[in-house]
């Protein structure tokens, strides 16, 4: 698994970093810590640069030396591309077992985060955002929502530091990817959480493919001794569910072309629900 943490210098990014560390501790994923400066040439002493250095220390110091898969080994010389057609021999320190990179990019945050995730082949982007109904970054207001809307991979949007005891996954389509199921598995394991699987219907009707999938997913988790509760609800009550029921929970939403939520709600519904949700949201693809 490859995890891309995208952060700035504000407290919500520290919460997201903690979630990234928790994920990395369990999965031993390859990890990139990314900061984005708005200047064209981000200086080392820019706030986000300083924050990244702090995040790097916090990340690497979270393990005892003998347990860390990210301990840097002996340096070795490698040819590194520096500009078009030019490579330079540099001494590179590599991770002992897993990759760990710290990167600073310049430009519009959402665009740079999405580019990095594509170039790196990320399986998950983790980022924080301010609490409340705005879901913003301090220096680039719409960045979190843009990343959630346009990422190719799953996105974990961390709103604040709090325990997760339940994953609430809302199924609104017949097709879901194997990767998304696996992502939920990891979240269940990391948080030792139970799973509530909600099948969304419209006016009491549920597509046969969605119902079949709901049963299959229920069986899948039961076979793996995961505590699962399956129920149905009408899509008209979905916003109320988010506002009233989600407390110490992680809300998991599937994004897909055949999503009932996409048809029922106007464009931009993901951003709207992510904003309304008071807790961490996992948007799966």
């Amino acid at each position: 698994m490859r995890i891309l943490f995208a952060g700035d210098e504000h407290p919500y990014s520290e919460y997201a970093l903690k979630e990234t560390i928790k994920l990395a501790m369990n999965t031993w994923a390859d990890v990139t810590l990314l900061g984005v400066g708005q200047a064209t040439n981000p200086a080392e002493d820019a706030p986000v640069g300083r924050a990244l250095r702090g995040y790097r220390d916090t990340f690497l110091n979270s393990w005892s030396r003998e347990d860390s898969p990210y301990i840097l080994g002996e340096g070795k010389y490698e040819w590194v591309p520096v500009k078009n057609g030019v490579v330079e021999e540099m001494k590179v320190l590599t991770g002992r077992k897993k990759d760990f990179k710290v990167r600073l990019r310049s430009g519009a945050p959402a665009r740079e985060i999405l580019s990095e995730s594509q170039e790196d082949g990320s399986d998950l982007i983790v980022l924080g955002c301010a609490k409340g109904e705005k879901c913003e970054w301090a220096n680039s207001l719409p960045a979190p929502q843009q990343v959630v809307d346009d990422a190719d991979c799953s996105v974990l949007l961390v709103k604040e530091q709090q325990p997760v005891t339940r994953i609430v996954a809302c199924l609104d389509q017949g097709y879901i990817s194997q990767e998304s199921l696996e992502m939920i598995n990891q979240m269940i394991t990391i948080h030792n959480a139970r799973l509530d699987l909600i099948g969304l219907s419209q006016n009491g009707d549920m597509e046969k493919s969605v119902y079949t999938r709901l049963i299959e997913i229920g069986d899948y988790y039961s076979d793996r001794q995961v505590e699962i509760n399956t129920r149905l609800m009408d899509i008209s009550g979905f916003e109320q569910l988010i506002a009233q029921e989600i407390k110490q929970d992680l809300l998991a939403l599937w994004l897909g072309k055949k999503s009932l939520l996409s048809r029922f709600f106007s464009r931009g519904w993901v951003g709207r629900f992510v904003s309304k949700c008071p807790t961490t949201v996992l948007v799966m693809r």
């Binding site: 501790m25 999965t27 994923a29 082949g121 399986d123 194997q178």
Partner: protein
């Protein structure tokens, strides 16, 4: 150069279905198993160069298979893939001599790259 033999064990058929053609395309000979008990029997009869195994399975789990495989053939490189990763299982896997530990989801390229590294180690490159 002789083809390396790889065993893939995962109780989810879709994982075997994805990995087999991807690894065969890389030039490996691949056997897949969805029942860990069958895989356990097989390693007593066939010497695999690389074993890719899930951890959480009914009956014999991946950790037991890893232990048995390394006892039978210490040179076999074992790669663990798991959907329910914990720090303890990661540490235990490495303690038992696993070549790499990969949490799901992963991209095929990630597995292919790890298998290539395992091959390089086996061939002494």
């Amino acid at each position: 150069m002789n083809k390396l033999k790889i065993m893939v064990l995962d109780d989810e058929p879709i994982v075997c279905k994805r990995l087999k053609p991807a690894l065969e395309k890389q030039g490996y000979e691949v056997d897949t198993f969805t029942q860990s008990s069958d895989a356990m029997e097989q390693i007593k009869n066939v010497n695999y160069d690389i074993i890719i195994t899930d951890l959480k399975m009914k009956g014999v789990d991946g950790m037991q298979l890893l232990t048995e495989a390394k006892q039978l053939s210490p040179k076999t490189e074992v790669i663990v893939i798991t959907g329910f990763a914990t720090m303890e299982t990661a540490k235990e896997s490495f303690h038992k001599g696993v070549f790499d530990f990969i949490a799901k989801p992963f991209k095929l390229s990630e597995i292919q790259e790890v298998v290539s590294r395992a091959e390089a180690k086996i061939r002494g490159e």
